[in-house]
Every structure is written in C-alpha cells, then in structure tokens.
C-alpha cells in the first residue's frame, strides 16, 4: 500500500506556516503487526530501517516489517558521534565504506529529508613513527582504491585545524596526519527518521515497542518471530540488533564472534564555531568535532568488559578528556554538558558481519563495533541485497561469518581502533 506524503521543502514550510503547522502529516504510521510478512527486520536502528527502505525500493519487497524493542533510532544510531569516512585499509573495507559514503552524498535528496551530511573532512593524526607508517600505508591504499585521502605534514595539519597543539614539546607530538575531505558528519536522528519515513511511504510497517522473544524455526529454516505483540510469520528474518545481536542469536543457539561492550561519548555546552572539521587520534585517543548546534562532540573509548547497561567507567571519560586537553589546551574551561553510553558489538578483527547463517532465511548484520553509523546506508543496501537474493553482494561477500573459521579475517584494528 502506498501513502503519498507531502514533500518537504521551504515551500511546504511556508504553506504550513499559514495553518500554524497543524496540517503536517505523520512521518510514519504506527501500525499493529500483520500476521505475516515477506521479510522481517529485527532492529529499528539506522541499519535496520535502511535495510527495509532498500528492500522496498530496490528489491520491490513492500510487505515487510521492522520490529523495534524500544523506539526507532534509540540505540547506537542516537548515541554515536556521527563521524562518516571511508579511509579504511583493506580493499574489502574500502569498498564497503566508500559504497556507503557515495550514498551519503545524495541521501538527503533520496529521502527528501535533510540528514545534514556535512563534508567538513576527517583528519587522522600520527603521534609516533609506527603511526606514520600505518597512516601512510592507508593513504596509499586509499588513493589506489579511488578514495580521496592525503597525507599532511605537521604544518599542513596545523593549517587545516589551527587550534591543535602541534608543538614539538608535547608528550606525543603530532608528526603528521591524513585527511579525507569527502568525510564528515551527519545528523544521527535524521538518518533513522528519514529512512523510517521513506520506508513507511512504500508500505513498510514500522512496529515500535515490540520486543523479539524468540525465533521459531522448522528444522534448518526460520518460520517467524515470537514478540511481545504476538507471533509474526515470515521465512526471511534479518537481524540488525547491534549490541543485542548475541541475545537474538542465542534464541537459535547460534554463537557469534562478538562481545558487547560499553562505548561512551560526551558533548560540551554549545559555543560559537571553534573547530570546523573532525579530528581523530588513535594513539592519544581523542576525537572531536563540533555539531551545528555548537556542542563539541567527543567520543571516548570502550571498556574492556561486556556490559548491556549503556554505562561505562569514568576512567574512560577522564582518559579521553585528558587526551583532548593535550591536543586542545584551549578547551580546559569548556564544560561537559552530557555524557552517555551505548552498547557496541565488536568482532575480533574490528570488521562487521553482513552474512547468511547456516539457518535458512536467517541473516545477521552485526559486529559494527564502534563505527557502524558511517556505514548505515551502505550496510542497509547490501544487507537488503543479501536478504532479497539469499546471496551476498560482492561488496559484502568478504564479511561473512565463515571468515572466523577459515582465518581469512579483515583486520581493521589500525583503521578502526576505537576512534570513530
């Protein structure tokens, strides 16, 4: 069923202003689950909603549902620091993340929803000689993979972001860095809401406050899901549950190579523009950008233990701000306004899983660790392809579960580290 939505534009804003904005339509419906769907996506985060959107748009599967335990975009989509880049080391990752980046570049128009993708550039700093080798290696690989990435020496780093302390006297001086200009940030809520609105318009049922309690299987294939809103039938189930992937997998005794760990982030009070790019440093572990609202958005690290509490330890936050003040001593009088935590599912090789499983009709998209947001559109597109065709797209073929058996890992610790 198709619902024509009124198109968003400055004109629709003016038009609605005259009726005191009382005639705006709902961005998405709030339906009760049907008995059966062609496919069910478990998890209403950015990745899940994008998957549904592309299933409907590219694979003409309209009779599908997204079931979400809480409210859409309430997990890591709404908790990350919204950094988007594709300067990954290995060909497989480069292909995956740059595919996503290309979609980002036209996403606001594709969704008719301003996701505020802002290509203000992402800079990765080097603080020791091995950093320099690794970053240069990545830059070369990126260039040959057609990904824009350049090496900057210390002066160029300073020029691109003058507030960085590039003095040679600091404990770990900045020895240079890489810059990807096409990279940047986007508005996290808008991504979830934009995909939801788009998917809903094509008939996708977005079912919130609906928790999956079990997966019904018949021999080696799936038949549907038990939820808090009853049983829903479907022989294609795509799980995009991030931190809770292992919990869902446990329902069919499937073990995944994942650990769910707390990842924290924080914002400062809003101030007038002071830093207009994204700067990341793995060695000193600090990364920061400034939101359009003026808040410094700072990502902290993960804790080493498993936790589903969405809280981490204070030492991690202290360690991060320590690094921030080392690189930006001018921020010492800035104030932390809000800190929060998310649950990130981390793979041993710091690369995701977008894969079929040995159970027919059951698909997993997980293991994005600390860096899933940037991949949202690509991840959704490729996962949709995998579900629709029961075969991976060539861009996600390498990200199968089986790599942990064969040993053919996609080790991105260097490119990923914690900093996203």
């Amino acid at each position: 069923m198709q619902i024509m939505k009124n198109k968003y534009s400055i004109f629709s804003l003016i038009k609605n202003a005259f009726s005191y904005h009382e005639n705006w339509q709902r961005a998405w419906r709030d339906p009760e689950p049907k008995k059966e769907y062609e496919a069910i996506i478990v998890g209403g985060g950015g990745h899940g909603l994008a998957t549904a959107f592309y299933l409907a748009k590219k694979h003409n599967m309209k009779n599908i549902a997204v079931v979400e335990k809480g409210w859409i975009g309430g997990g890591n989509t709404g908790r990350n620091t919204t950094i988007i880049r594709s300067n990954y080391l290995w060909d497989a990752s480069a292909g995956l993340y740059d595919h996503a980046l290309k979609i980002w570049e036209g996403l606001s128009q594709e969704l008719n929803y301003n996701v505020m993708f802002s290509q203000r550039g992402v800079m990765n700093l080097a603080h020791n000689l091995q950093d320099v080798r690794d970053l240069k290696r990545r830059t070369h690989a990126n260039r040959l993979n057609g990904i824009d990435a350049v090496w900057l020496n210390t002066e160029q780093v300073k020029k691109f972001c003058p507030i960085i302390n590039t003095s040679p006297d600091i404990r770990y001086p900045v020895l240079g860095g890489t810059l990807q200009r096409r990279a940047g940030t986007a508005r996290h809520d808008a991504v979830a809401w934009g995909y939801a609105r788009g998917a809903d318009e094509m008939g996708v049922d977005i079912i919130q406050n609906c928790e999956v309690k079990g997966i019904k299987r018949n021999g080696d294939s799936v038949e549907g899901i038990e939820t808090t809103k009853g049983f829903i039938k479907s022989n294609k189930i795509g799980v995009v549950a991030a931190g809770h992937s292992s919990v869902i997998a446990g329902m069919v005794d499937l073990r995944l190579p994942l650990e769910s760990k707390p990842l924290q982030a924080l914002v400062s009070e809003p101030v007038k523009p002071i830093i207009d790019t994204v700067v990341m440093s793995n060695a000193v572990h600090a990364y920061v950008s400034q939101s359009d609202k003026g808040e410094l958005v700072i990502g902290a690290g993960t804790d080493a233990y498993v936790s589903y509490t969405q809280r981490g330890s204070h030492d991690v936050v202290e360690g991060t701000l320590k690094a921030i003040l080392e690189l930006y001593p001018i921020f010492s009088r800035m104030k932390m306004l809000r800190q929060w935590g998310g649950i990130v599912d981390i793979c041993p090789d710091a690369s995701p899983i977008i894969s079929k499983t040995h159970i027919k009709g059951l698909y997993f998209n997980c293991g994005w660790g600390t860096g899933g947001f940037k991949a949202t559109p690509g991840s959704g597109d490729l996962f949709a392809h995998t579900i629709a065709n029961n075969e991976p797209h060539k861009l996600n073929a390498d990200f199968n579960i089986n790599r942990f058996v064969s040993g053919d890992l996609v080790d991105e610790h260097g490119a990923a580290a914690v900093a996203h």
């Binding site: 809770h244 769910s260 498993v306 809280r311 030492d315 058996v405």
Partner: protein
Amino acid sequence: MFLINCPYCGERDQSEFSAGGEAHIVRPKQPTELSDDKWAEFLFMRKNIKGVQLERWNHTHGCRKWFNMARDTSNDKIHAVYKMGEKPPIK
C-alpha cells in the same frame, strides 16, 4: 567504577584490574585433533551473555592473580568472585 573484591587482596577500585572476557573456555588439550569449526569456537565464538556471566579478571596492579567473577551484565552487579580452578558458585 566497580568496587571489586579480589579473592586475595580484598576490595579494590576497578582501575587496579583488567577484564579477561568469558571464563571457563578451556584451551583444547589436543588442538590438532579439532576441526577448523571447533577451533574457531574456541578462538572467537563467545556467549556474550546478557545476564549473569562468568568471566575472568586479573588484579593487574595488585597481586597480579587471575580470578573468576559472576557478574550480571545487564546491571553490572557482581554476584561473586572465585579463584581459578574453583567451581562457579552459581549456575
């Protein structure tokens, strides 16, 4: 920051410890006999439980002893600590 009761040194701040992941994953005595799948199970596959999980911790900055902990990963509550080789106090 947790307050962890090291079975040897007593209650200490979390910062003195490091987490070692899921406990009771015994290294196969005869790895060469194992299939790639079984070996992968040992290497990478984890329960990653939401709820009470048995896990390894090390008092890195104290007595440097490894020990086990039963902790509820849904609220971080520590139910018990026990020494290596001891049976888990709760199922």
